[in-house]
């Protein structure tokens, strides 16, 4: 595709997105709460669709296919394991939504329940996770679009990144959710069309099987292999087992739901739908393998290379829409997530004893943060990177934030300090050892080389042990779910009164 045609398509798409953002700002966004939680007026099917698109970023489509490139057929189902956390966490979301009807962020729940120390750590972790996500998404924008449009990686990242910033700047979460619905329908229709073309090219599943057997790589038609199990499934499963709990994008969507009783339905349908998406991307990855397609920069452009070989031009355009919109939507959601963490959990806490910001000031602050984090995201992903590597790296930080939260669901008596110590221990291990190992450091204990999944599992068990043993020994100091409701109600009413008084003056 010529660069002029590529830019024309992207500009048309951008115009649509920006128009959605403008419409959202004009009709729906009156204050910071509208900006960050879409006014808490969204219905369950829209949240389910939005969840699919939010999680269907580079990881789902590109890294799932990349996994097949390295691990064969087991890669088709292994990536889906990373979504199990949403099904596991769904009842927890319902409980928190009931307890915190004015909630905006996950870290806000941590502050009210576990106290300031743990809250600070979780804010740092939340920022780290979301910045790694921005990097993964930015890399996805480049790897997913550049090969199809014939652009350089940096051109695709820069152009698409600027469009996303403008689009989110207008309408915050409303922009994301409204655009998500259209993107969701385009996404699954396009994936189905591409699957049809892929099947036609390789002669159906029988033809695909025969070609893979002829290639002579048994992992390409194996249910699972020991390499895929230890190096991929276990690392991803352990790292992402508590992902949903720590994902601010998911919390914002849960808070945005109109009805609390539909929360479970929205999350479970979102999960079920999302789970099948990396599987379909994985099947497409198999087709790419059978055709002898190889990655160009990193394995992440594997799928895009397949589309440019098997599909006619109009499907390529659909693919470009799909990948751009899927990633752009999540990129936008992460920008809003980062803005909400900084506004609510950092600035909100720093200004606790100072005069409240006016509605307009809060809204402008959120907009400014969206722009700043957007620029950071573009800068971090301007060169090609492996999305799968970033996703696995990020998994470590998710363990830190997720384990104490999960345990808190099953324990009646918890101690704030113990939770903080457990979380800190996990954080330090992942920050130093996890990061070093992800960058190629060989950790040897008694001549035995420790693998990444073993480190993640050890971190998880250590955190659990500290929390379980510590909370048995120390007296309970954690606020109950019933107490949370009252605590937030008081804080919210006080803030509301100060804001109204300031605006009245």
């Amino acid at each position: 595709m010529s660069p002029i045609a590529a830019y024309t398509i992207l500009v048309l798409n951008a115009t649509f997105l920006i128009a959605v953002g403008y419409f959202a700002r004009k009709k729906q966004v009156k204050n910071s709460e509208d900006y960050l939680t879409a006014g808490r007026r969204v219905k369950w099917p829209m949240i389910s669709g939005s969840i699919v698109i939010t999680w269907a970023y580079g990881g789902t489509l590109l890294a799932a296919a990349e996994g097949v490139c390295y691990y064969g057929w087991p890669g088709v189902w292994i990536y889906s394991l990373s979504g199990v956390s949403l099904a596991l966490a769904a009842p927890f979301f319902v409980r928190v939504k009931k307890a915190l009807p004015h909630g905006t962020t996950f870290t806000e729940y941590v502050r009210l329940r576990f106290g300031d120390g743990t809250h600070k750590l979780f804010v740092i972790c939340g920022l780290l996770i979301n910045i790694l996500l921005l990097m993964s998404l930015g890399a996805g924008l480049g790897s997913g679009i550049a090969p199809v449009f014939g652009l350089q990686h940096w051109q695709a990242v820069l152009f698409a990144g600027i469009i996303v910033i403008i689009f989110v700047l207008f309408g915050g979460l409303w922009s994301s959710i409204i655009a998500d619905q259209i993107q969701y329908m385009i996404m699954w229709a396009t994936a189905s069309i591409i699957a049809i073309f892929a099947m036609k090219t390789c002669g159906g599943f029988d033809g695909l099987y025969n070609t893979l057997v002829q290639i002579g790589e048994p992992q390409n038609y194996a249910l699972f292999t020991s390499v895929s199990f230890y190096d991929y499934a276990l690392v991803l499963m352990i790292g992402y087992l508590v992902y949903a709990c720590a994902d601010q994008c998911m919390w914002m969507r849960a808070y945005a739901l109109e009805s609390t009783k539909d929360t479970l339905k929205a999350l479970l349908f979102g999960w079920a739908s999302w789970t099948t998406l990396p599987m379909v991307a994985g099947i497409l990855g198999l087709v790419a393998l059978s055709l002898g397609i190889v990655p160009t920069n990193t394995g992440s452009d594997f799928l895009a290379n397949l589309i440019s070989v098997i599909a006619p031009k109009w499907v390529m355009i659909l693919w470009a829409f799909l990948i751009f919109n899927a990633i752009a939507s999540t990129f936008g959601s992460v920008l809003v997530s980062l803005a909400s963490i900084v506004t609510t959990d950092i600035i909100g806490q720093l200004r606790k004893n100072k005069p409240a910001l006016s509605t307009k000031q809060e809204l402008n602050l959120n907009s400014l943060l969206v722009v700043l984090f957007g620029i950071l995201g573009i800068a971090l992903s301007i060169t090609p990177k492996s999305i799968l590597w970033i996703d696995i790296f990020m998994g470590g930080f998710l363990i830190v934030t997720g384990v104490p939260i999960y345990l808190s669901l099953f324990m009646k008596n918890m101690n704030k300090k113990v939770i903080m110590i457990g979380s800190f221990a996990g954080f330090l291990i992942i920050l130093f050892l996890g990061s070093a190992m992800n960058f190629g450091f060989d950790l040897r204990i008694g001549g035995y080389s420790v693998t990444l999944w073993q480190l993640y599992l050890f971190t998880m068990l250590l955190e659990a042990a500290i929390v379980l043993i510590g909370c048995r020994l120390a007296p309970p100091t954690v606020v109950s779910f019933e107490g949370l409701y009252e605590l937030q109600k008081r804080e919210y009413e006080a803030k509301d009164a100060v804001q109204k008084a300031a605006e009245g003056c």
Partner: protein, 46 residues
């Protein structure tokens, strides 16, 4: 390593595709009902 036969390979892959289409079709119908109720003023789609 557990190798898949040609039949198992086909059945598993078809199952994934069918599941993908069915779940997404269900959610899409419900989203369209909401848009329908907004555009045509009916109180449905919840």
């Amino acid at each position: 390593m557990i190798l898949l036969s040609q039949t198992a390979f086909g059945v598993l892959n078809w199952a994934i595709i069918i599941l993908f289409v069915c779940i997404n079709a269900y959610i899409t119908v419900n989203i369209l009902k909401i848009y329908g109720s907004v555009l045509f003023g009916k109180k449905s789609g919840k």
